[in-house]
């Protein structure tokens, strides 16, 4: 006999494998905390959004020197004001998108659709992280450039550099920038890799035959 038919026969006749729970036992379950992947995903995403906001604002709060410098820059350049407005606009946009896609995750969809909406939510965070990495990279490069060319103390120092020394300085700065970005990227890979491993595997398995 077919293995599954045998299983089916048993499946339907045995209803008492697990003790029946009473309403009283079910009731408190409704208010327990969920430990679902999506919830974790959402919490981590929110934490990320705030992390980047904090990273951007901490130097402003802590260092008075930096604040003064920044105020000076802002007073002179409308460009910087616009950049700030745009960057906060982008953060708000991401928060909106994340919230919207989180809301669209519905357990009552079919399994494939559900997985797709979870992965879509994840993608939004991925773009946000990517955006931040690019901005961080550009800022680093500009920062270095600005320091070399406009900071009087540094400029005086490197004035006597030979071509070789100058080259080395550039290499070190580049390596440092790349390292910084790679470390952050790895960190994200780790968090989401662990969280979404099973989901990714199941998603692939589901669509395996449909090309």
């Amino acid at each position: 006999m077919d293995e599954l038919e045998l299983l089916k026969k048993d499946w339907n006749k045995s209803d008492d494998h697990h003790k029946k729970l009473s309403g009283k036992e079910i009731y408190p379950m409704l208010h327990k905390k969920s430990s679902s992947t999506v919830k974790m995903l959402f919490y981590i995403s929110i934490a990320e959004l705030f992390l980047w906001i904090i990273i951007n604002t901490i130097p402003y709060i802590i260092s008075t020197e930096y604040r003064e410098k920044l105020n000076e820059v802002y007073a002179n350049e409308t460009l910087m004001t616009w950049l700030t407005i745009v960057s906060y606009g982008i953060i708000l946009l991401f928060i909106y998108l994340l919230f919207k896609s989180y809301k669209s995750i519905s357990v009552t969809d079919n399994a494939k659709k559900l997985m797709e909406s979870i992965l879509r939510t994840r993608k939004i965070v991925k773009y946000y992280v990517l955006y931040n990495l690019v901005v961080a990279g550009i800022s680093l490069i500009f920062g270095f450039y600005h320091t070399i060319h406009y900071d009087p103390a540094i400029a005086a120092e490197i004035k006597d550099f030979s071509d070789k020394q100058m080259f080395m300085a550039y290499v070190i700065m580049t390596v440092f920038s790349i390292l910084f970005i790679v470390v952050i990227w790895l960190f994200y890979k780790l968090i989401y890799g662990l969280l979404l491993k099973r989901l990714n595997r199941n998603y692939k398995e589901l669509g395996k035959l449909e090309v």
Binding site: K8, G23, M29, S35, A111, N202, E205
Partner: protein, 165 residues
């Protein structure tokens, strides 16, 4: 209002709880894990309950939420100390003396389903055991009927080779 809805939901779940237990039976292999998954499915059902409009049967709706939770949302709890449960051991012994009795055969079957099939395959087996046709299976999982059929045949072959080495 909320209180009433809670009572109504609990009554419904109490009546149909067997479906959730059955899902847990395929996806977990010990008592602790079973209860954890039951708990998580209950939360997901309750969260989705406001969206349940009664246009499908409560039981059908439960299949979806139960399987979706098992396949996509559920994070296996860390406090499960041993995944090497008694069924696993039983499976090893039973395969040697496979022809003994139907009961032993069944035990080996359950063990094979739990330990050797992936999450998607378990969902297919579950729906198959619940006597769903391929239309409903493909609707629930979001795949084509052809895909569902091919997968089902593969599962059958897989189980056959597992149990008749």
């Amino acid at each position: 209002m909320k209180k009433e809805e809670e009572q109504r939901f609990v009554a419904l779940l109490e009546e149909h709880q067997n479906i959730v237990h059955k899902v847990c039976r395929l996806y977990t292999n010990n008592y602790e894990a079973h209860n954890d998954l039951f708990q998580e499915i209950t939360i997901q059902l309750w969260k989705a309950y406001p969206k349940f409009r009664g246009d499908s049967k409560f039981s059908t709706w439960m299949y979806r939420v139960g399987l979706n939770t098992s396949i996509t949302l559920y994070r296996k709890s860390k406090r499960r100390i041993s995944t090497q449960d008694f069924d696993n051991v039983a499976f090893k012994i039973k395969t040697e003396t496979y022809d003994d009795t139907e009961e032993q055969q069944l035990k080996a079957l359950y063990a094979a389903v739990r330990n050797n099939l992936n999450d998607i395959e378990k969902a297919l087996v579950f729906l198959y055991l619940e006597d769903k046709d391929y239309k409903e299976i493909s609707d629930t999982l979001g795949i084509s009927e052809v895909n569902a059929r091919v997968k089902m045949n593969r599962i059958k072959t897989k189980l056959r080779t597992l149990l008749n080495p």
